[in-house]
């Protein structure tokens, strides 16, 4: 395909050509950044979490008398174990993604300093099984450790702790964390096990450093435990949580009882993220449609204006295919110019956003991908007008305009 005649003709229509280039450039810049933001948010929504998310249900009991916890919690657990389908039951202080951050600093040396926010979870007896923690090294808590561990001033009075894989690698890189001592100020706990990464209570607040920084302490029945964790087969969970909430409502008549499946809890935590994703997708689609219609409108005008030219070309032997190709190549060239301008603009916008928002550097491959997308849309948009142009009969050449 000869490019020079196309360029010559474009030079005669500088303004409309520039408009198409600019529109494609802007669309490309916005698309790149929007798709990047969509990608980041979708990745957030899918943060892995090494507990049995599909099988867990949580019933929260608030406002029970803490003085009676020692006798009431074991009684409630016995009752909950009676629910058909509940394979493990335990009490706990909080859950990953429950928004209720209990954060502290943990270091490998006494009185060390760190900027990482670590989420603290206290588990009642059997909590590891109820959550479905995935043990990578060492062991879980034993009955003795459960019995002699309390909670005071946000810290465990016990002597042992379970940590996540991320923390083990961060605090003791290249070594086994087992048997090491984890400190807050000058209090220490022995690491007896390492579990696969469990999310923080509020990972967005904790930031990337604290997302998988979680510690688990054993705890004997205590008033600070308000969550009852039940594990069942995924298909039973809706019934299990309903029955558990009814049961606890009866047993703890003075308290406020709320039951939810963990799957719902997770959806809830990411609800505004996913609504932002849908909004961004909507904007992208509408924007691309507007750009496409702009191309259709301008190219149609172009075709209309050049009917006679097209007729002459057809009369002197150009095939329909040649005419089609002419408009397609023209659009390709305009898109190329737009995309080059657009990727530069996209990069600039990304740099600007990085300064003022929590946005990371856009990986380079977003640029070619959205460039290809805009090329494709341009070709699709030009198809209609190009077909109409190809349908111009040669006889038009003989008519004066």
């Amino acid at each position: 395909m000869e490019i020079r005649p196309i360029l010559t003709s474009l030079r005669k229509h500088r303004i409309p050509a520039a408009l198409i280039v600019l529109e494609i450039a802007l669309a490309c810049a916005v698309l790149c950044n929007a798709v990047f933001m969509i990608g980041q948010r979708v990745a957030d929504i899918h943060w892995p979490n090494a507990i049995d998310e599909q099988g867990i249900s949580v019933v929260t009991v608030n406002g029970a008398d803490p003085k009676l916890a020692v006798s009431d919690i074991p009684r409630n657990l016995v009752a909950l174990r009676g629910i058909a389908g509940a394979t493990a039951v335990a009490a706990a202080t909080s859950m990953p993604l429950d928004h209720n951050g209990a954060l502290s600093d943990f270091t490998a040396t006494p009185n060390g300093k760190t900027t990482v926010n670590t989420s603290i979870y206290f588990l009642g007896s059997g909590g590891e099984q109820a959550l479905g923690l995935h043990l990578l090294e060492g062991r879980f808590f034993n009955a003795e450790e459960y019995a002699d561990s309390g909670s005071k001033d946000f810290n465990s009075t016990g002597h042992v702790v379970l940590i996540t894989q991320s923390d083990a690698q961060r605090l003791w890189p290249g070594q086994s964390a087992l048997g090491k001592t984890l400190y807050t100020n000058d209090t220490g706990w022995t690491v007896i096990g390492v579990v696969a990464d469990v999310l923080a209570q509020d990972p967005r607040f904790s930031g990337p450093g604290g997302r998988y920084s979680s510690v688990f302490f054993p705890l004997h029945p205590d008033g600070v435990m308000g969550d009852y964790v039940l594990r069942s087969a995924p298909q039973d969970r809706a019934r299990v949580v309903r029955e558990a909430a009814q049961l606890l409502g009866k047993l703890e008549s003075g308290a406020v009882v709320d039951g939810t499946t963990y799957a719902d809890m997770r959806t809830d935590y990411f609800a505004d993220t996913s609504s932002m994703v849908w909004m961004l997708v909507l904007v992208c689609v509408v924007m691309l449609a507007v750009t496409a219609f702009g191309i259709v409108g301008l190219t149609s005008f172009w075709v209309g204006q050049r009917r006679q030219q097209i007729g002459i070309r057809r009369a002197v032997g150009a095939s329909r295919g040649h005419i089609m190709q002419y408009f397609q190549t023209e659009n390709f060239l305009l898109s190329a110019a737009g995309v080059v301008l657009g990727t530069a603009l996209a990069d600039g916008i990304n740099l600007y956003l990085m300064r003022y928002y929590e946005i990371t550097r856009m990986p380079w491959y977003y640029l070619p991908v959205s460039a290809v997308a805009l090329w494709a849309i341009g070709q699709l948009a030009v198809l209609g007008p190009a077909l109409r142009a190809a349908a111009v009969p040669p006889v038009v050449a003989t008519r004066s305009a």
Binding site: I15, P16, L19, I20, L22, E23, L26, A27, A29, V30, A34, M37, N62, G63, D65, K113, D153, F154, T184, N185, D186, G249, G254, A255, V256, D268, A271, D272, S275, M276, M279, L280, V283, V286, M287, V290, T291, F293, G294, V296, G297, L298, S300, F301, W302, G304, Q305, L353, Y357, E358, A401
Partner: protein, 435 residues
Amino acid sequence: MFGYYLDLALRSLKRHKVLTLLMVLSLALGIGACITTTTVLRLLSGDPLPQKSGQLFYPQVDPNAKEGYIAGQTEPPATMTYVDAMFLLHAHRAKRQAAVALTSGKIAPQRANERPFYSDGVQTTADFFGLFDAPFEYGSGWTAADDEGGSQVIVIAGFLNQKLFGGANSVGKTIRMNDHDFRIVGVLKPWSPQPRFYALDLGGHDYGGDGDAMFLPLKTAMDLKMGPQDIECYNAVTDVDNLAAAPCMWLGVWAELPDQAAVADYRTFLANYAKQQVAQGRFSRDETALLDLMGWLRDQQVVPDDVRLQAGLAYGFLLICVLNTVGLLLAKCLRRSREIGVRRALGATRGAIFGQFMVEAGIVGLVGGVLGLCFAELGLFGIRHQPAEYASLAHLDLSMFLFTFVVAVMASLVAGLLPAWRACAVAPAPQLKAS
């Protein structure tokens, strides 16, 4: 003249229905997106207390350890210890002051066989209501003596009064909260500043909802061990139940300073306090801050990032839509070169041609504005059904309604400039010759 242009414009728009529809639709989509996001942005960055925000100030001091401190760069923490807050309050250097923490309490139902429920509350001091102009339906706030004595008195919100007492005057009645009896001294009229400026950084929501349900004296809440929603400790804690002495920050302090002189005085007072604490060895940083209400909201970046990103995205989108409209208008007007040539030959001036095309663009803008308003209403309807905490606030107000048309007509006139200029530059002779 204008009437004639109008007639010409309408005829021309009618002739190219698809092109007109494309222009109007693209402009309307851009405007709809813009108005939707701008409405939300304006609501969220609005002044929660317009009549008084200029007089409300938020003092901050920094009890953190020296480590990591860069003079002039490290901002003091958002909350205060009980010791510092009480010092500021008892010094009485402002017209009114209040210390604030959030809490929640279990409220026992008034009728049998109903379940208890949790309500959000505020632990604060007597001047809170006067300080923030909280309006009373019945009764009033508590007194400084109640603060000192830790009386079990409570002010409840109108919606809680409705729920518990069917909206009747409940002053003097008793409610049971966290298994303690509280005497109601006041019932508020609906009061829910957006954002809930007094509770930023105290834990809890910034936007939405009907406001806090109950307000009780700080000392009472401490005596009854009703912990605040958010505690941040800067040293090892030995007894977290004793919040009055613990090295933990959990209170926000607000001061009403009616004029510049009062602000300057308070600033000096605060700086002196910090210096004195450093000299005594209790503090190791002497940084202080005293931001006014709007400054504090900006400092805390209360408007969610996503909302600002959405607004930026919408403006980018509008730009694309305007560009699109320019292209389509241009296509249309170049197609009518012959018509323009005839009009020019018959004596129409360049100005007349320019006017005619601008009127046409203006009409596209007006229609685009009306349709854009529909899109904006649709967009806001969508936002109201989002899970975001500010969702319920998303409504179009009169000023945004008018703003829509200003934006629409401006956008279309800007879009019309280039095509109209091209149109009036058409030389009549070649056009007439060609035909």
